[in-house]
Symmetry: none
Subunit: 455 residues, 2 copies
Amino acid sequence: MLQEYIHAHEQRLLDELLTFLRIPSISTLPEHQGDVARAAEFVADALRTAGLEHVEIIPTDGHPLVYGDWLHAPGKPTVLCYGHYDVQPPDPLELWHTPPFEPTIRDGNIYARGSADDKGQMYTHIKAVEALMKLHDGQLPVNVKFLVEGEEEIGGKAIAKYVPAQQEKLKADVALVSDTALYADGIPTLCVGLRGLIYTEIEATGPARDLHSGLFGGAAPNAVFGLVELLAKMKDAEGRIQIPGIYDDVLEPAAAELASWDSLPFSAESMRQNEVGATSLTGEPDRRVLERIWSRPTLEVHGIAGGFTAAGAKTVIPSKATAKVSLRLVPDQQPEKIVAALRDFVAANTPLGIVTEVRVLSGGPGLVVNPDHPAMAAAAKVFGEALGRPTVFTRSGGSIPIVGDFAQHLGIPTVLMGFGLPDDGLHSPNEKFRLSNYYLGIATVAHFLEEYGNR
Amino acid sequence: MLQEYIHAHEQRLLDELLTFLRIPSISTLPEHQGDVARAAEFVADALRTAGLEHVEIIPTDGHPLVYGDWLHAPGKPTVLCYGHYDVQPPDPLELWHTPPFEPTIRDGNIYARGSADDKGQMYTHIKAVEALMKLHDGQLPVNVKFLVEGEEEIGGKAIAKYVPAQQEKLKADVALVSDTALYADGIPTLCVGLRGLIYTEIEATGPARDLHSGLFGGAAPNAVFGLVELLAKMKDAEGRIQIPGIYDDVLEPAAAELASWDSLPFSAESMRQNEVGATSLTGEPDRRVLERIWSRPTLEVHGIAGGFTAAGAKTVIPSKATAKVSLRLVPDQQPEKIVAALRDFVAANTPLGIVTEVRVLSGGPGLVVNPDHPAMAAAAKVFGEALGRPTVFTRSGGSIPIVGDFAQHLGIPTVLMGFGLPDDGLHSPNEKFRLSNYYLGIATVAHFLEEYGNR
């Protein structure tokens, strides 16, 4: 019945999503503030249309939150559906085959920034609720609350403030997040572990102004080189982080979890060739690749800028240079402790003549979810039925800070049931979401709510 | 007699220079192309007025060259006078106390863009020749050729092509260049050494595209970090270049030259505080600061760019990163050999998973001029007499490519006799040229031509 409903409404369900994807709601760029606001309106309208009540756009210091609920299933559990309507910047634009905000269907995929991360996936929740309402005379098998944010890609400050302040309003038994991917095409996957993230900017200052490298080269400190020297000391040639104490609190996965990872279809060579596209994978040689990305802390430099970078030659000794540096955290690393260790390391390793500053933009811990929770069991069952094979439990190396906030402030676990694919190109040019997975998502979320309501 | 002539014509000599300085001949800005052409006309007219013959404006692919000569002193040496009539852009305009192209006399200085670099200094050559002609019935003590360019501030492409193609026309015994400064106020200074320069771009490529650092962090190579690791290996913590063989051919200054440097007024602390503005000077601790900037090769990173560098946070593993890297060369380092050593080093030290490319943008050797050359001896004598103390022989850590071209293609040394001061603010707001040094320049160049003709 649900399948028939979705099939009958295929075109409309797609058209609505495409309209949503056309809004360039890039949360990090001030010039798109109006677009982000428009995307919030779109979400609020969609919630109302689906049948949610108490729909509101909640102003914040940054981009607004959108809330809505339906609480007429007494005795049934409450599911808090979370998603985000903001997207990453699309640069480099020239690598997109079709424009990032003109969604295009090719080979069964929707190509657009935000298609998989997270507009397309978040929208499956709304459409699942809408379908259940239509099919059951405005009734749902569980209580639902929606909380959708517009700052996920820039650290989620507003929601991080809102959740602890609104514990009663947001009270629920479990959260549902669709912002992850199937382990591989056709494999129903629930994610039970996430890495945390500390995101920083490190700025180095050398001379008071750019100097002529002929007149001062050899005697004056160079901010770019100073930053380069500092950053290079942060990892050894095999990727081990050299900041003292960084591995002290790392919780090793249980033997059974490692064994289950070993049973997953995984090819390092395929990952290297098809997903990474580099001459080699890298990282701690004594660790499985899946450990490196799921259960090991990492340090990355996301960007660096300093001095003269236009075409041609200019012989300056640069005064300033900045790098974006993050650490991915795993249970049980404490963000505060890691930030302190990073600051100590920078202070101790700043080269002569250079002054450094560490600015922390955001931070949150890694976490793991218990796969035996009733909601997890319900999700595993319906997801496995939808794809005709047992659901696997994996982790993600990414960070979804809100999951940690739900655990900490609402005391609830999160079902991470994502419908993306590993090659969806999140944060990259030509991001896509498979069209059939969009419909799969709507059906599976609806079945999950039904199954969970029956337990 | 010469002094009296200059004194009698002081006002006219100043007015002419001010007229020259009012032409905004900014070679790098296309909208000033007409002004650059007007400045070339001005130079040609001044050469004709001074008594030079065969004056011509030579069209090039860029801005024109101006040539003129007087060759009626058989048996006497020939001096090739070089200068440039183009100037740097004046930005940032708001920092100028008076407009850059409305020359203003304040506290005995001419404030204007190009006053010291190089219009004012170059014009001393023309006015010196004119004075000698007037005083000696149209005769000069030596043969002279003038070659004045309009692209010095943008790389000097046209003259670099012209010199090797016109070896017969430009044949001379020595070149005279006034585009440098006194070591300090009142100290007659001849520059006898320049560093060469190899300017490169080094590009690192890791993954085929920017990747999500959560999903791949720990296993995928990072182009920015790979470049950082590579660059950091190029120098040790004390600034010694680690590229094998780099110091093999470095010619140490003679003990007498080092002793003369030790006799110069120099304060590292003053340089640190007033010129560099950093917490410390840096560089090879077992070398004098003047050695580090005059007679030691250096490696600098002028700029670096890669990954996400806008405001906020983006968690990518960057696919590409590029750095502008130069080496300053000293005698007898061979540019080709150094480029090869750099390429070998980059190939040997490129981290796992990274592909690097080295692009060489330009290259030229360092050089020293023999202070015992007759022209140098003549210049040292008259300059010392003009300022009442012995001429000092210094070097510059910068590069003046045309001096290398004269050496390579015409086989002649260059007398680098400049009348600027270290704080003239070349390329900066409020560039100035001390008025008395303008007249000093005219007199000293004229005396030099007389003295050299008598040897």
